[in-house]
């Protein structure tokens, strides 16, 4: 019986049953696609609330497709920040994506256009949901349906927020706090992944110093300081291990 089941599963895995593969992808992405709805609504509401046109909501959500950055972008655009500042902020805030390539199963997606889409839609969630793709033998269709369904859910919820935002009375203030709360939650999650008091202190120190020396561009400066600090720690550690190696001889 168990053997039969195993064979059945194996047949499904290799069979190019597109519909079945799409459903598997949908099943994988469902929790993320649902979780992102309130955040998308908040982004859409915020966008209209600060005075940006409603049609910029699907444009922003569809093209930039990087949730946390989009919130920051709204603030920058409203303040008419220089484009160089926008590019630099994007570079720093999304720099973590560089590391996603290390584990993302792009080689499983063969079609050239699909490959480009797959790289374009390599969000935090896409990265997290495909961590087991290699071991569990995800098909290209399954990977692409995870990414595209998540994309659709994000665009629709941001758009809905922008369209329905007008229904929320002006006396409701402070919706932008959703962003702060999101990053606080993500900080806690990051700490669970990498529990380090010294690195937490390094980050907080960067924030305080950056706030003193460059209050206008605190975020960018603080991130650079943190990265420099990390690189310094790396060099110190490498230097030390080289020295220890010499002592050992």
């Amino acid at each position: 019986m168990a053997e039969n089941l195993a064979i059945k599963e194996a047949v499904h895995e290799v069979g190019d049953n597109r519909w079945y593969q799409m459903r598997l992808g949908a099943k994988n992405v469902l929790p993320a696609a649902v979780a992102v709805v309130p955040l998308g609504l908040a982004l859409g509401v915020l966008l209209v609330r600060v005075g940006l046109p409603w049609w910029s909501a699907p444009l922003l959500a569809g093209l930039v497709f990087a949730g946390s950055l989009e919130f920051l972008l709204i603030g920058l655009v409203v303040a008419v920040a220089p484009l160089s500042h926008i590019a630099l902020t994007t570079l720093l805030v999304n720099f973590r994506h560089v590391f996603y390539a290390i584990s993302f199963p792009l080689h499983r997606v063969r079609h050239k256009g699909a490959k480009i889409y797959s790289m374009f839609a390599l969000t935090d969630e896409a990265y997290a949901l495909t961590l087991h793709a290699e071991r569990r033998n995800y098909s290209a269709i399954r990977i692409l349906s995870i990414q595209s369904l998540f994309h659709a859910s994000w665009i629709l919820s941001v758009f809905a927020g922008a369209l329905l935002g007008g229904l929320i009375p002006d006396s409701v203030k402070g919706l932008e706090f959703a962003v702060t709360a999101l990053f606080v939650v993500l900080s806690i999650e990051a700490y669970k992944e990498y529990q380090s008091v010294p690195l937490t202190m390094l980050a907080l120190l960067s924030v305080v110093v950056a706030n003193l020396i460059a209050p206008q561009s605190m975020m960018v400066v603080a991130m650079l300081m943190y990265l420099l600090g990390l690189s310094a720690l790396y060099l110190v550690r490498k230097h030390r291990s080289v020295k220890e190696g010499q002592h050992g001889e």
């Binding site: 006396s171 990053f183 606080v184």
Partner: protein, 107 residues
């Protein structure tokens, strides 16, 4: 206020930089997978970046007591809920609801 050309440029530029960051590493994928420094940074970056992002999105005049207490109450709500429930959606919504509630009706 931002005009449409500026708005388009800002979105296009940000989309382009984001795509570059996601796509370019695949051109050097072998070198990346074997670089010590990259692996070192990859493990340690999220923690600091998220803390900086959280700090930089806190309301500007947070040192003003009238702003400080709603922020403190909302942050506490988010953190405590998240430590006990580990449900990101719940923590974000509850913290935001508390903050919006205080700002809209209690002040």
């Amino acid at each position: 206020m931002a005009n449409n050309l500026y708005l388009f440029s800002a979105i296009a530029l940000s989309a382009l930089v984001t795509f570059g960051l996601r796509a370019l590493p695949f051109a050097f994928i072998r070198a990346l997978r074997s670089s010590d420094l990259i692996n070192y940074l990859a493990q340690r970056m999220p923690l600091g970046i998220m803390i900086v992002l959280a700090a930089s999105t806190i309301p500007q005049d947070v040192l003003n007591p009238n702003v400080a207490w709603p922020v403190a109450v909302a942050l506490t709500t988010t953190v405590v809920l998240h430590l006990f429930k580990s449900n990101a959606v719940l923590s974000v919504l509850a913290g935001t609801a508390v903050y919006v509630g205080i700002l809209s009706w209690a002040l």
